[in-house]
């Protein structure tokens, strides 16, 4: 018999309790992997939105913590376009709308210029793309169209105004698939934000030292001034910095980790409880093992490995459940436009190691207690 077989027998001997502990760990790991995975997917989705289009810099209102409400005069775009090294600039206005009848809230509504390079990332599934004179037209991402039950040629009421659905598109990006796009001046009129944009997406020329170019243009954009000589108060940020500092993403991550921490504490207490009970029930057995010469370290390993085994099984089950849950959430209209539906391997690895930590933490004290039982007292235990 090998040591691990002995451990396995101990775990299998108490099937119900082992199963309950494993489920406790699995739920904690599911919470961690699903929540952190969703937050991570949200961040990746956001980043790929820019990176896949080759966007090097994002220009927003300086110091604006709430990026959606960032507001910059549209004419700044012309100044940016004139800077050396700048290949393309796309102004963008973004807002969120709700479609109560479809139970959809916070649907992103994008306003783009008719000639924007951003349209290149969209594959038209039906209808056509927006043209310069489609003032009352809107394009819907495929997920949004499905959730609304709309097709091209239908009409859609947005903020009490009727728009024609010109086309349905599929984007490489989940976030955009759950969004709607209209011409920027239409959105400016609709939201009563004339000549204002949320920000600019800037693509730079290819250069041998791109980082240097990005840094130079960034400084130049930050220094732009109005015709009256006043600074515009804008801030250009490299894509990754922009995404990482976006308050919604940071909030999503903070929420995910906070909720996960609570789930983990509950999981660890579950393991602790099981292993303490297990050590208590097996006091005499541990006494026998000690009496016949098992060292304290072997007793510690016995209890810790049992606890780790439960945690590992819990981790595998929990990660599997998180993957299924995250995938299932993409079928739920309310969130389907925000969730990528896949969990990054790194998040699964994090979940796995967190489960190991839960097992170690939950098993540590019982292992210590077990190892320090006096054989003579343990043998007298009934």
């Amino acid at each position: 018999m090998r040591f691990y077989q002995f451990i396995l027998k101990n775990v299998l001997q108490r099937k119900a309790r082992s199963a309950l502990t494993m489920i406790g760990v699995a739920i904690a790991v599911t919470a961690v992997v699903a929540l952190v995975g969703i937050a991570d997917g949200f961040q990746r989705s956001f980043r790929e939105l820019y990176e896949n289009r080759g966007v090097d810099l994002l220009v927003v209102r300086a110091g604006s913590s709430e990026r959606l409400s960032s507001s910059i005069p549209q004419q700044v775009g012309e100044q940016i376009r004139g800077l050396p090294g700048v290949r393309a600039v796309s102004p963008g206005l973004m807002d969120v709308v709700s479609f109560e009848e479809a139970n959809l809230t916070s649907v992103p509504l994008q306003g783009w210029a008719a000639d924007s390079f951003l349209f290149q990332g969209l594959k038209i599934l039906s209808g056509r793309r927006l043209e310069a004179d489609d003032d009352r037209g809107v394009m819907l991402g495929m997920v949004l169209a499905k959730n609304l039950g709309k097709k091209s040629g239908d009409t859609l009421e947005i903020a009490n105004r009727e728009f024609a659905i010109i086309g349905i598109y599929e984007s490489f990006n989940t976030f955009e698939n759950g969004s709607a796009v209209m011409l920027i001046h239409s959105l400016q009129t609709l939201m009563d934000r004339p000549n204002q944009v949320t920000g600019f997406q800037v693509v730079l020329d290819d250069a041998p030292n791109k980082k240097e170019l990005i840094e130079r243009v960034r400084r130049e954009i930050n220094g732009l001034r109005s015709s009256s000589g006043q600074p515009w108060g804008i801030e250009a940020m490299p894509t990754a910095d922009y995404v990482n500092s976006t308050s919604q993403i940071r909030m999503a991550q903070a929420m995910a980790w906070t909720t996960s921490a609570i789930a983990l504490v509950i999981g660890a207490v579950g393991v602790l409880n099981t292993m303490i009970m297990s050590v208590f029930e097996r006091t005499r057995e541990i006494g026998i093992l000690r009496a016949i010469g098992w060292r304290k370290s072997r007793v510690v390993r016995l209890i810790l490995y049992e606890s780790l085994l439960l945690s590992i099984i819990g981790a595998v089950v929990g990660i599997g459940a998180a993957v299924v849950l995250t995938r299932a959430l993409t079928w739920w209209p309310l969130v389907s436009g925000f969730i990528k539906g896949d969990v990054a391997p790194i998040v699964m690895v994090q979940g796995f190691f967190i489960a190991l930590a839960v097992g170690l933490l939950g098993g540590a004290y019982p292992a210590y207690r077990g190892a320090h039982l006096l054989p003579t007292e343990a043998l007298r235990h009934e």
Partner: protein, 222 residues
């Protein structure tokens, strides 16, 4: 039998802190290599306390235990000492209920040098020695009490101990089964040269040993 003491105690005392119970008072005994000794006494006489101290399961309050002329108090790893030098047989057998006979016998071997296959082969050999070859894959719950004690004896022999310590080994057995277990002890002593120290309260059981140490009120009486 050698005249060299394998085990001896010097003015051994044990006082339990709760209520100042003097379980042992100035106990000095000597056990030679290859000797079969019974320690006899009524309940509370201190015989089990003495056995626990001889087996390094507990620490004396005063005095010392010497094994092969070395004080147990200077042995740095008493767990290893117990695993390598001693075999324990208990009144209640203390077999692990989830393990089969052959697995129970292997438990002490985890602290020994044998590889997995060697452990199993040796466990089977020891079960043969105690007449339990036909029960290797049975769990304790599937065995009679006598059979359980035989397996416990096989387990005690797992690491080729120098000394076998038995605490009331026949206490839970009927007279016929007890006789079989004592026959087994006699065989181990006579044919294998095993040193055995057995604690008992039964005169008949004690008489199976070569020498009898009587205890009363924590002292050696005769």
């Amino acid at each position: 039998m050698s005249n060299v003491p394998l085990l001896r105690t010097e003015r051994l005392g044990k006082t339990y802190p709760d209520g100042q119970v003097h379980a042992l008072v100035d106990v000095t005994v000597s056990i030679r290599q290859g000797e079969y000794v019974a320690i006899m006494g009524s309940s509370g006489s201190g015989k089990s306390t003495l056995l626990n101290l001889l087996g390094a399961l507990d620490q004396p309050t005063s005095g010392a235990v010497f094994f092969e002329n070395q004080s147990l108090s200077v042995i740095p790893d008493l767990d290893r000492f117990r695993a390598r030098k001693l075999g324990f047989v208990f009144q209640s057998f203390f077999l692990l209920p989830t393990l089969t006979a052959v697995e129970n016998v292997q438990i002490p071997m985890f602290e020994g040098p044998l590889a997995v296959r060697q452990r199993e082969a040796k466990a089977r050999e020891l079960l043969g020695l105690v007449g339990m070859s036909h029960r290797v894959n049975h769990r304790p719950g599937q065995l009679s009490v006598g059979e359980r004690q035989r397996i416990a004896i096989a387990r005690a022999l797992a690491n080729d101990p120098v000394l076998l310590l038995a605490d009331e080994p026949t206490g839970n057995l009927d007279s016929r089964t007890a006789g079989e277990v004592l026959d087994l002890f006699a065989h181990l002593h006579r044919d294998k040269g095993m040193t055995i120290v057995m604690v008992t309260h039964g005169q008949e059981v004690a008489e199976r040993a070569e020498r009898l140490i009587r205890m009363r009120d924590g002292r050696v009486w005769s």
